[in-house]
């Protein structure tokens, strides 16, 4: 029966080719455009680490100068507070982390010295954020404490320095110091870059990772952003470290709600103590944010995506309204045929199913074309945005394709409900008389 109805749908399509093609096009364009935006938002606004996003917490303190109008507290931590938190409790995985840039001098004369964007972090960083490794692994906590000169390379940097081979155990001269390679990352591009939203939430990750303490010990050039709300007392690097300057991101993993509330108390107490000695004057209601709360707080999703989402929804609405109108025309146009079928004993129920299948058929064809439209749209996005997007993350995967076709079928059937109802409720007598 299903196949019979499909055949009827095909026949019906051929009877009104222009009207039917219009409908298919409308569905394809509407769904395609919607899916382009959906894909964009799905990646940009999605949960970057779904398995752990409710267990990883970012710490923010009551920073800033309440006297300055319209100021908001900076999102990062000062050196004083980051080191205090590191020592406050060591029972949970935690990391202070920040960016640096340094120059690598490759051995031999084949490759000229070049600058890399690096990240200082603690051993737990790799396990907390489920960072994938191609070779080797991260370092262990003892390397953090003893300032071991170890380094983890990104896939690209390993490609550049060692041709992509297993470089674990090799030595790299960076910033005038020798570092031993302990691991090479696999492709790792969390979108958005939730662990450090300070320099663009879509920016690519760093190329080299070293124990964070070395940034201070070697006085590496800090990149990333720094917010100061009080001038350092005195001058030089030590004065900067002691100053009210925030430049460090701090993350902690808290697995149970008990741990979470205990940790919350811990940092609330710490903040209260600091307030007593005249620091942390900017009143803050919340100091611990899980990943999704943090993305929301930092407005990691560009506001443009919301505008485009609204526009795409309206585009889809127009296309579906169009489909309602065209289906209505189409179904009522064959009233006579329906009259005959009903007179010959067809159930209203079977007419209903027949037309649902016909609408679904149009939706399916539109959806398949819509995947093509979405593909073209995404290629267009690449052309337009180019290197602004890290390569390869904006793509049509099985989920998106399935959602596209499913949405096309479902929305066409929904759009068809009223026309179908009208078609099933015609009075056969009138149409039979006319014949």
């Amino acid at each position: 029966m299903f196949m019979y109805y499909i055949r009827l749908s095909l026949l019906s399509y051929r009877r009104n080719p222009v009207l039917s093609t219009l409908m298919v096009l409308a569905v394809a364009i509407g769904i395609g455009a919607y899916m382009v935006i959906f894909t964009l938002n799905y990646y940009v606004g999605g949960d970057p680490i779904p398995a752990k996003s409710d267990k990883l917490f970012h710490v923010q303190f009551d920073y800033g100068d309440p006297a300055v109008p319209n100021s908001t507290p900076p999102p990062q931590l000062t050196y004083i507070d980051a080191t205090a938190l590191l020592n406050l409790t060591t029972q949970h995985p935690r990391t202070a982390t920040s960016k640096f840039s340094a120059i690598i001098e490759p051995e031999g004369n084949d490759i000229r010295p070049f600058a890399v964007d690096g990240r200082g972090n603690f051993a737990d960083f790799f396990t907390m954020f489920d960072v994938p490794f191609q070779y080797g692994s991260g370092w262990d906590r003892s390397a953090d404490d003893s300032n071991q000169q170890v380094i983890v390379l990104s896939q690209e940097l390993n490609e550049r320095l060692f041709g992509g081979g297993n470089s674990v155990g090799e030595t790299i001269l960076m910033h005038g110091y020798n570092f031993t390679v302990v691991g090479v990352l696999d492709r790792w591009v969390p979108i958005p870059k939730f662990y450090d939203l300070n320099n663009g939430s879509l920016n690519p990750g760093e190329e080299a990772y070293i124990p964070w303490n070395l940034i201070v010990a070697m006085e590496l050039r800090r990149s990333g952003s720094t917010n100061c709300w009080k001038a350092p007392e005195g001058s030089g690097f030590q004065a900067f470290l002691n100053a009210e300057c925030a430049w460090i991101q701090y993350w902690v993993q808290l697995d149970s709600t008990a741990d979470q509330s205990a940790y919350r108390d811990l940092i609330d107490n710490y903040a209260a103590q600091q307030k007593q000695i005249g620091r942390m004057l900017f009143p803050l209601e919340k100091r611990l944010f899980d990943v999704n709360e943090w993305l929301l707080e930092q407005e990691a999703q560009p506001p443009e995506t919301r505008m485009l989402a609204a526009l795409a929804a309206m585009l889809l609405a127009v296309c579906l309204l169009n489909t309602v109108g065209l289906l209505l025309s189409k179904f009522l146009g064959k009233s006579a045929e329906l009259g005959v079928r009903q007179a010959l004993g067809a159930h209203k129920g079977s007419l209903f199913i027949q037309h649902v299948i016909e609408a679904g058929f149009i939706g399916a064809v539109g959806g398949i074309l819509g995947v093509g439209v979405a593909y073209l749209g995404l290629q267009g996005m690449y052309l337009l945005l180019g290197d602004f997007l890290s390569t390869g993350w904006l793509r049509l995967d099985i989920t998106v394709v399935a959602v596209t076709i499913g949405l096309a079928i479902a929305s066409t059937i929904v759009a068809g409900l009223y026309p179908i109802w009208r078609a099933c409720n015609i009075n056969p007598a009138i149409h039979l008389k006319l014949q």
Binding site: L19, L22, L25, A26, I29, G30, A33, D65, A67, V68, P69, I103, E105, R112, P113, F114, A115, H175, G176, R221, C228, W229, K230, A231, P232, S235, G236, F237, P302, P303, E304, R306, M307, L308, A310, L311, A312, M314, L315, A317, V318, C319, L321, N322, V324, G325, L326, L328, S329, L332, G333, G380, M381, L384, L385, G386, F388, Y418, L434
Partner: protein, 403 residues
């Protein structure tokens, strides 16, 4: 006229009317707001930075060797660059307009009065900055070599003299404006800074920054291993010089690397890439919507004409001219689209409110909605002309046949 009969006929096919009207309303909402967004962004992209962007480029030198002496290297590099034929000026700067990275501070008229702090971008430059950037000095004097302070990171001291943008002068000294030369302002560390000159315009590095026109130049060279050279070329010489300067610097010193060679035009292109992309996406959306809506109108018109073939034939048989039939359908469409655009005007304003709130966009100018309404009515009329002409050609004899 036939308005009465057309209206009564429409009430018998309410859904068809509502479908087209709502479709028109959505289409209008999207189109009007999209055009508004495009214009708004184009306006932003068109704002000049104050610099001679067409002829300038920059390159960063980062030293790493034990024997690298930044102060000496920078002086030598700039001398070499200036001697190249086609170079007008060369200087150092810590940041560049439109580039998206740089530093800012808060300045006050009264030392320590933080609640009246005015945000401003800061460019640390040397004495040739104004001529290299191509800034127009409208009051006071330019920096001299004596103004420039070179120091390393172990100190926080700042040079005494600064040059500010006219916009910053207006904000800090509303009564004085360009006569603010000679006044002293204070930074967040309460260090006094004396205004020796005012430039017509200089934007801060962040195009989206609400205070983008507020900028200050300070003659400071921080010796931290990194210097960025800005070069202004004679018209037409830029691209050749970009290659020559990079090759020359690379050959001259092995204890540093060069990074970030870029023209100002390219920097602008990169900074506004997202805006440009969004504009193009919106153009595609507009074209698609107009097409789909027009097709929808055609489809429904053809359908409703087919259903009324017999009536049309009858009217013709009773003496209606082809022009009258044509007019009937054009008028019918006009009535439907009019309902649509009225609804559309309301939706358009509503969506604009959403943009104002979520995107900090300005309010829609008054003429956008009426122009959009006229445009959509025109689209409706054009779409329905074809089917209506078909209707007008229906033969009166049809009235006598049964279907």
């Amino acid at each position: 006229m036939e308005v009465g009969p057309i209206f009564r006929a429409l009430t018998r096919n309410k859904l068809g009317v509502v479908l087209i009207a709502v479709q028109i309303a959505f289409t209008m909402t999207v189109i009007v707001n999209a055009v508004f967004i495009i214009n708004d962004r184009n306006g932003k992209m068109g704002r000049p930075s104050g610099m001679d962007e067409a002829n300038t480029f920059y390159i960063t030198s980062i030293g790493f060797g034990e024997n690298f002496n930044e102060a000496v290297t920078a002086a030598e590099d700039l001398d070499m660059i200036r001697q190249l034929p086609g170079v007008l000026h060369a200087s150092m700067t810590s940041a560049l307009p439109v580039s998206g990275s740089g530093s800012s501070t808060g300045v006050t008229v009264v030392a320590g009065q933080r609640e009246s702090s005015v945000p401003t971008a800061v460019y640390y430059v040397n004495e040739n900055a104004l001529s290299t950037m191509g800034l127009e000095l409208i009051a006071g004097t330019d920096f001299t070599a004596n103004d420039v302070l070179a120091r390393d990171n172990s100190s926080n001291s700042l040079p005494n003299n600064i040059i500010i943008s006219a916009a910053l002068a207006d904000v800090m000294f509303p009564e004085l404006g360009t006569r603010a030369v000679g006044q002293t302002i204070y930074n967040a560390s309460e260090q006094p800074l004396r205004i020796i000159g005012i430039v017509q315009q200089l934007q801060g590095p962040w195009p989206e920054w609400p205070f983008v026109e507020q900028a200050m130049l300070s003659p400071l060279h921080v010796i931290d291993g990194t210097s960025t050279y800005l070069v202004r070329a004679e018209p037409g010489q830029r691209d050749r010089l970009m290659v020559e300067v990079e090759e020359m610097l690379a050959a001259s010193n092995g204890e540093r690397i060069l990074r970030g060679l870029s023209s100002m035009e390219d920097t602008r292109e990169q900074s506004y890439r997202v805006d440009r992309a969004i504009s193009k996406i919106l153009y595609v959306v507009i074209a698609t919507l107009v097409f789909i809506t027009a097709m929808g109108i055609v489809g429904l018109a053809v359908f409703s004409i087919n259903r009324r073939k017999k009536q049309i034939g009858t009217r013709r048989a009773l003496g209606a001219t082809q022009g009258e039939i044509l007019r009937y359908f054009l008028l019918e469409n006009l009535m439907i689209t009019s309902c649509g655009v009225v609804l559309g005007a309301a939706l358009t304003l509503g969506f604009n409110m959403f943009l104002v709130q979520s995107l900090d966009m300005p309010r829609l100018d008054w003429y956008y909605a009426p122009v959009g309404m006229l445009l959509l009515i025109l689209v409706g009329q054009l779409a329905v002309i074809g089917p209506s002409q078909g209707a007008a050609r229906i033969a009166p004899a049809l009235a006598t046949r049964s279907v």
